[in-house]
């Protein structure tokens, strides 16, 4: 049994670690607004040097057995025009089940604080309204809870790469990432590998000039492969598997405000055990650029 002192020390230790993750991000700056691009897939950064952004997201994911609702905030800061920092954290703790789900390639898991740096290492602008660019993303996560179900949760590292094209009529991005957890005790959630693809289109009706509202629609695809979770050093039977989800999203921008909504539906699932299959992921994001 823990004494009040040791409990307080554990709380302070966990809190300080979380503050360090957040503080590091705040120190180096904060993020690329997810509102510029797709809701679920990877996209290249767009913040200006010294610009801040805020993305507030409501995410819901459903399986055959239950639904999980989460609220997340993501702060962004342009350290330079090509290097951006992101800090994303849950505003309200989600229900336990499904809480390890990444709520978007750049918005982290529902039950974790995530601090990332995104570096746009390649950029060309061949003509008016058009650019091609590529970026790398590296992030670290700190779980908000010590456990996810019966399993202990440690920190994780997230690496991703994305390349894409933007114009006044069409967009596309293709990216891939991996999130690997560190062991805590003898437990470790399975490593997540994913690939995302996004195609965007701005219909002629929405090609009005600035400062009129700017709308576009996306078709997004996310393919995930998750290794089995490990508890007490042993692989868990009902964990891991492969999924392919596809769905539409829409993005509306007006001045310093942005609104985005999207849904992903499973096209194919091959799970390793008898765990519930996923039914959908839905997301609403409000973005503000300072």
């Amino acid at each position: 049994m823990h004494s009040p002192l040791s409990t307080a020390m554990q709380f302070l230790s966990a809190t300080s670690t979380r503050l360090v993750v957040l503080g590091c991000t705040a120190f180096v700056g904060a993020a690329s607004a997810e509102g510029h691009g797709p809701a679920f897939g990877l996209a290249t950064p767009t913040l200006a040097r010294g610009q801040w952004s805020s993305d507030t997201a409501v995410v819901q994911a459903g399986t055959q057995s239950d639904d999980t609702l989460g609220y997340r905030e993501m702060l962004g800061y342009g350290i330079t025009e090509d290097l951006q920092a992101l800090a994303t954290f849950p505003v309200r703790r989600p229900d336990e089940s499904g809480s390890g789900l990444r709520t978007g390639a750049m918005m982290g898991s529902m039950d974790a604080i995530e601090a990332s740096l995104q570096w746009r290492f390649h950029r060309t602008a061949p003509e008016i309204g058009t650019r091609r660019e590529s970026a790398l993303l590296v992030g670290i996560t700190e779980p908000t809870d010590d456990t996810r179900g019966p399993m202990q949760i440690g920190n994780s590292i997230h690496l991703a790469a994305v390349t894409g094209y933007a114009s006044r009529t069409t967009y596309w991005w293709a990216g891939a990432g991996v999130q690997r957890y560190f062991e805590k005790g003898d437990d470790r959630p399975g490593t997540l590998y994913y690939v995302t693809g996004v195609f965007g289109y701005r219909p002629p009706l929405f090609r009005h000039d600035y400062p009129k509202p700017d709308w576009r629609v996306f078709l997004e695809a996310v393919a995930e492969s998750t290794e089995r979770d490990r508890m007490n050093g042993l692989p868990m039977q009902n964990s891991g598997g492969e999924k392919l989800l596809v769905g539409p999203s829409v993005l509306g921008l007006y001045g310093r405000w942005g609104f985005e909504a999207g849904v992903l539906l499973p096209v194919a699932q091959s799970l390793n055990g008898t765990q519930s299959e996923e039914r959908y992921r839905a997301k609403f994001v409000f973005t503000y650029w300072f």
Binding site: H36, L47, A166, R168, Y210, D214, W289
Partner: protein, 173 residues
């Protein structure tokens, strides 16, 4: 005779104070003569992109109006006469937003001077733009009004190394 460390420090601080005062009193920027800039931008595709550029340009000194067109890929900046904002300042805002500035159409005001066999537009007592283009008209104007103020409209190339060249398209007295 050696001075004490206290005296040395005192002298050092006084010197630093004098330098700071001189820097503070010195004019920090000269007018570039710009009154209007139509800066072409490549790579700008979305409303937040335009918002970022508009926001950044409005923060430059002596800027009175900014209009950004996504479809034309251009930022139009109006400045007060005698503005200290330069074409380089405007292009830095574009670059800081992650986009690529190209050639710019500008309207500049100043006097015509001859330096090393070339005609320059002078503003704030300094040659600011080396003039090319309608050379006969420029020379005629310079001869007619050797110290009078003129207004030129022309194109500044995209390259920073040649950003002080102005291809004149029209000039008025």
């Amino acid at each position: 005779m050696h001075r004490s460390p206290v005296i040395k420090a005192s002298v050092l601080f006084k010197s630093l104070g004098l330098i700071i005062a001189l820097v503070g009193l010195a004019p920090l920027a000269y007018s570039d003569g710009l009154t209007r800039v139509e800066q072409t931008i490549f790579g700008m595709d979305c409303a937040p992109c335009a918002y970022g550029i508009e926001h950044g340009l409005k923060r430059l000194s002596d800027v009175t109006d900014v209009r950004v067109s996504l479809n034309a890929g251009v930022a139009i900046v109006a400045l007060t006469p005698g503005s200290t904002t330069t074409i380089e300042n405007i292009r830095k805002v574009i670059r800081d937003n992650g986009f690529t500035p190209k050639a710019a159409l500008v309207v500049v005001t100043g006097t015509l001077v001859r330096v090393d066999g070339h005609t320059w537009l002078e503003a704030s007592g300094l040659p600011r733009y080396q003039l090319t283009g309608v050379t006969k008209e420029i020379e005629a104007m310079r001869n007619a009004r050797p110290s009078g103020e003129v207004q030129l409209e022309g194109e500044v190339p995209e390259s920073d190394s040649t950003a002080r060249e102005l291809f004149v398209k029209s000039l008025t007295g």
